[in-house]
Structure formats: structure tokens, C-alpha cells
Amino acid sequence: MLSNIGSILVILILSLSVLIIYNSYLDIKINNQLIGKRIYKLSLFQITFTILSFLTLVIGFIFSDFSIINVYENSHTAKPLFYKIAGTWGNHEGSLLLWINILVLFSYLFLIYNHKHNKKFRLYTLIFQNFLILGFIIFLFLNSNPFSSIYPVPAEGLGLNPILQDPALAIHPPLLYVGFVGCSIYFSAAIASILSEYNGREFALSIKTWVQISWVFQTLGITVGSIWAYYELGWGGFWFWDPVENASLLPWFAITALMHSVMVLEKRNTLYEWVIILCLLTFTLSVTGTFLVRSGILNSVHTFASDPSRGLYILLFLSLMIFTSLIIYFKKRKKEFYNFNTNSKETFILVNNWFMVFFLATVLIGTLYPIFLDVLTNAKVSVGPPFYNIVIIPLVIPLLLAMTLGPQFSWINSKRKKLYKTLYILTGALIINLLLFYFFENYGFYSNLILITATFLILHSILDAKESIKNQKKFEYSRIISHLGFGLLVFFIGINHNHSVETDFNLKVGDTKKINNFLIYFEKINIESNKNYESVTGNFQINNLKKKYIQYLNPEIRIYTDPETLTYEASIKSKISYDLYLTMSNVARSDFYNIKFQKKPFMIWIWISAIMIAIGGFTQLILKKNEN
């Protein structure tokens, strides 16, 4: 029943897309400034049906309707309600439906919120967005229909992969999707802008909000993914330069560059071409990332949905997207001349863009190189953290400097006036670093430089914040918060990287082990039965000998029944200044348990800083709304 409703809704969305494209095409030829009522109506129907189709699937999951294959394969009656709902997008088919929902949602919102803009531009955007929708709906229908039914109806489902049953992971895909799929709207808008020969400044104004929204969501999505990896995967790290993490980072670099350049286009009406390229690039990279993850061409924790036939379709679609946009771009492109003053904000924004492009290229090469080598020479290699650390870390230092100094310049041209202030702050940063050096003992040359520049950015941002509050310069808030967040992020990662303690040993119940100033006592084992898993919990006492207090950590081994899987749940005690991290795994045929104990300073602050970067973007959106 639900399966039929769902399929009918999908067909309706598909036909509506075709109708919208056709009607928009007719409407462009009518020479007035108003978009026909029919197009609004069709779009309203489209968004309604799309949301309904998604709700249909959610209902299927809530009531465990196993006549739908997708529900049967990814859900189970014994699962908590929250994870039943999250299961909707925890699989390939459902997440593709979510993807289409976001495409349609952005298409509709862009249509109704941009009524001040040129009609031709808006209609072209709508047409291209609906081509994207069409492409993905056809993909969904032919290859990955979430509403496919199964007969006879199974009595029980296969269950959701337990590693995905985590609150952070339940919200991770929707956040990332809004971020990645949101890029589609300015991909369409960029093509529309070229075709309708739209004014650069107007174009910037029309896409700015959308760029910010998708940037905020991407930033949050990546952060939440990282938090999940830290708490769930049990490796104690938060970023692994895993190919799939990289795939999510690629569009982020492009969109960060775009978010900065779009300001130049808005204020100075220049860099039009570059902004167009970035718009096209961001969504292209998003789809490339999807291709890499979904086709199974990469191996990683995300290959839950690998299937070469899917890969082929996405690749076909990707090729079409790239060639269409390239051909249109080259046909219509106009030469631009740039005239920038070195002492201007726009120059520094260009500098930011160069950094982003550099990081983008580095991560792209690191991610694709193994694939290329495998295809061309059959050799298997993997590119890991050492490559990224060597290439990226030295460049973070000038980036931090540019992030601090850039915002001090005004548009077009500015005189250097507050040099003494900058010098004071730099001295302050040096002193703080010396203190850190004194308290934490020595670390490497690069670490020192990074901590100095990061402190420089932090101090400068704090002083900027004070000044802009005093002078009521609200438009500066968002930049200050984001830049401060980034400075803190680099600072805490730096400290964390240099002062983490990590050990690995075997322990029996009743044994103790001393590591640095911690005494670890393995008290006992508890075995418990839960709703859909059995758990073996270890009770550990961690005695801090220096500060004389005891903490209790309870790492767990979970044995899930549907499907049968073992997961190792880390026990983490977060404090303001450090995290204690303990995982245990059983050693076959012995009383010993393998214990991994870590002390990681300032972990919480890494999350807070990353979220702060995203909050900066939010601030901008809220402030703008208040202005209107």
C-alpha cells in the first residue's frame, strides 16, 4: 500500500519537473517581468508531493512495513523509534530520496524568495534545477527505488547496522545533505546567470544567502561526522584523512572560497567569472564526492552503499553536468579585467581563495591518486596522514596570518594605520607561546609557529570583537566569530596533537596498570541483556595520582542480534581540560582484555571551536533577516 503511494508520488514529481521545464521555457519568451502563475502552482505541487513521498517512507519505517524492501533491509521492529526514523536516510535509497527533497526544496525557496530579480535569470535557474531533479528522480526510479515492494512480506526486518545507531550519525546525513545538495541551487543559478547575461552584483546578491546556508550546514555536518567517529569508531582520533572524509572536505574548500569571493562580487562587482567557476565547481565536487562514496570505488567506513551500477549512473550524470556547464561557460564567457590594490580587502580575499584552491588540490590529489594508480598500473597504495600533514601544516601558518590581517583592510584601498596595535598583539601571542612552551615542555618548530599564529588570530579577533561591539558594527560579528573559531580550532588541535597520551596493553579483571600519573584498576565485568543487544561492560577505576581523585570509566562490548555484529563502545570522560578515553576488546581464549587508554587534552574545545565557525555563518543569516 505505502509502496504504491510512494511510487505514484515519485512519478508525479517526475512529471511535474517536466511540466515546470516546459512551462518555464514558454514563459521566458513572454516579454514581461512577471513569472506566470502556473509555474508557481506547479512548483508548489512539486514541493508538496516531494515532502509527502518522504513522509510516506518515514511512515513505512515507523510502522515497520516490511512489504517495502528498503524497510525490510534496514529496519527491525525491536529498534527504538528514533533509529527507525533515522533509518530512513541511513541507507542509499532513502538518502537519495532525501537528496531529491532538498533539491526540490531549494528550487522552490529560490523561486519564491528572489522575486526582485530578473525574470529570465530566475526561470533559467528553475529550468536547470529541474533538470538536476529530473536526473536524480530517474536515477531513483530506475536503480534505487526506496518504494520497491517485496512479496511475500517478511515477518521481520534485517536491522540497521548498529554502528549507525548513534544520535550524532542520525543527524549527520541530513546536515551534510542540506550542505552538499544546497550547492545545486547556485550551480543552476550560475548557468542561468551566464545564459541570461545577468549583472554580476545582482547575481551575487541572489546567491549569497544560499551559499551561506549551505556553508553552515556543511561545516556542521562535517563536524558532527567527526564527533561520531571520535565517539563511535573507537580509534580515539577525530580526523583520519579517510578518502570519504576527504570527499566531504573537497566541496567545503570550494564553498569557503566562494563565500568569500561572493562578497567581492557584491561590493566591487568584480571576480564575476571566478565566482561562476566556484559555483559550478562546488556542486560538481559534491556530486563527485557522492560518486566516490556510492560507487564503491573507495573503501572506507562509508561504503554501506557501494554498487557499481549506481556508480555508472552517477558518473554519466556527472559527465553530463560537467560538459553542459563547461560548454555553456566557454560559449558565453566574457573577458574580465582585474584591477586590485594590494592594500585592499579584496586582495586578501583572493589570497584566501588561493589557499582554499591549494588545499582543495592537495586533498583531491591525495584522494584520487590511489584510484589513478590502481587503474593505470594495478599498484595498491594508500595516502595517509603523513602526506597531508607535510603538505598542509606549513601552509596553515601563512593562512592564519592572512586571516588575521586581511579583515583589517577596507575595500578598494586603505592606509596602514594600526600597525602598532598589530605589533602589540603579535608580541602578546609570542609571550603566550613562551608560557605554553614553559609549562608543556618542548615541541617542534612548526608546532610553535602554528601556536603563535593561532594565538595571534585569536587575540586579534577578540580585540576586533570588542571594537565592533563598541562601534555597533554588526556586519563584522559573523566574520569575527568564524575566524575566532578557526583560530581556536587550530590552537586546540595543535595542543591536542602535541600532548596526547596513547597506550595499548592487556589487562585481567583485578589487575592494575600505571601510566604517567594515572593508575588504572580493572574492577569487574558486567554482562547485561538489552533490547536489541547484549553488552559486556568493564568497570575501570582511573586514579589520578597527581591531583588525587578517582574517575570511573565503563567501556562496553556490544553484541547486536539483528544483524549479528560486535561493536566496541569507547568510554569517554570529558572534562574542560582533557578527555580520558578507554576502549576494551576481548582477547580470544583468554581472561585478558585488550585495553586502549588515551588522554586527549582539550577535546571538547575542538568541537566547540568547529561549531563556533558554523555559528559565525548563522549570525550572518540572522543579522540579515533582521535588516530586512
Binding site: F291, S295, I297, F330, D374
Partner: protein, 173 residues
């Protein structure tokens, strides 16, 4: 018509990328060492766990057949397969068995061999597991059977059982 090099470069670049992706799709991505059969092993040097004796691929050329077995005292399936190794070493003179002790402690390895018997003509040390990886091993127990030209004629992933044992006998017959 003037050729726009910039355009040509961009387009060829994109085509190249997409082509690689397409070819990549057809590849079996899971790293597998099963198909190593038929390949020659590369040169190596192996130090004994108990003294400074070394062996290399040249040593193995003298044997008609060599079975290289990767084991550790902490590995339960290794205990299960041990009796087949003992049988093999006592029954067949034409096969020499080399043990490579994977990520293990010397004292534990020797206790293990003392308790269960020692089927090996030579026990090599691989404390960090690197030598085993260069043989294409990704977990233990694994065994590879070589002829005197150092070609891998059989590879056994997981413990040797009766079926595998019979198979080895058939090959060296």
C-alpha cells in the same frame, strides 16, 4: 579556426578524469591476495628467532617444495592447524616447512613450539609484521606453498584443515 589551448586542456583533463573513474568502477576494489598463486616471491632475508642465522630466497631454491607458514603463539586457529604441519614434516621428506613468527614474543613462540611440537625447519622472526606483509599476508594463519623455482603454487588463507592437507599431499606427489 584558432585552437584555444586552454579549452582543449580543460576538456581533455575532464575526459581523462571521467575515464579513470569509469575504469575504476570495473575494478575489484577489495584487496585480495588469493590471486598471488602463480607469482614468484620477491627476494627476502629472514632472521631466526633464536640466533643470528639468516635465510633468503636462495636457501629455498635447494628445497623441492617449501611451505611457508605464518603463525603466532597468540593465534588460536594456529594451534588448530599445527597437527597438520607436524604430520607434513614427519611424513614427507620432499617438503621443508619454514615458520614465520608474526608479531610475537620470542619466549611465547618458543613455549608454543615446546608444548605443541616443532614442525619447522627454520623459524624466522617478524616482530613488526612487515616481512609477512611483503609476502602478501593480511592475517594469520596463512601459508604459501612454493616449488623450487620460488613460484607460489598454492596459497592457504586461514588454518590448514584436512581438505587443504590432502590437497598439499596431492600437489607434492
Amino acid at each position: 579556426m584558432r585552437i584555444n589551448f586552454f579549452k582543449v586542456i580543460i576538456f581533455s583533463f575532464v575526459v581523462f578524469f571521467l575515464l579513470i573513474f569509469l575504469l575504476g568502477l570495473k575494478k575489484d576494489n577489495n584487496y585480495s591476495t588469493k590471486n598471488l598463486t602463480g607469482n614468484k616471491i620477491s627476494s627476502f632475508q629472514l632472521k631466526s628467532i633464536n640466533n643470528d642465522n639468516l635465510i633468503s630466497e636462495e636457501t629455498l631454491k635447494k628445497n623441492q617444495y617449501t611451505l611457508i607458514n605464518f603463525f603466532a603463539s597468540w593465534c588460536a586457529p594456529c594451534r588448530a592447524e599445527h597437527k597438520y604441519l607436524l604430520n607434513l614434516s614427519s611424513q614427507k621428506k620432499e617438503i621443508k616447512i619454514i615458520g614465520i613468527n608474526f608479531k610475537d614474543k620470542k619466549i611465547n613462540a618458543n613455549n608454543f613450539l615446546r608444548a605443541l611440537g616443532n614442525p619447522y625447519n627454520f623459524v624466522g622472526e617478524d616482530t613488526d609484521g612487515k616481512i609477512s606483509i611483503s609476502f602478501g599476508i593480511y592475517g594469520i594463519p596463512e601459508s604459501i606453498l612454493l616449488n623450487n623455482e620460488l613460484t607460489i603454487i598454492k596459497k592457504i588463507i586461514g588454518p590448514i584443515d584436512q581438505i587443504q592437507f590432502d590437497d598439499i599431499l596431492k600437489i607434492i606427489q
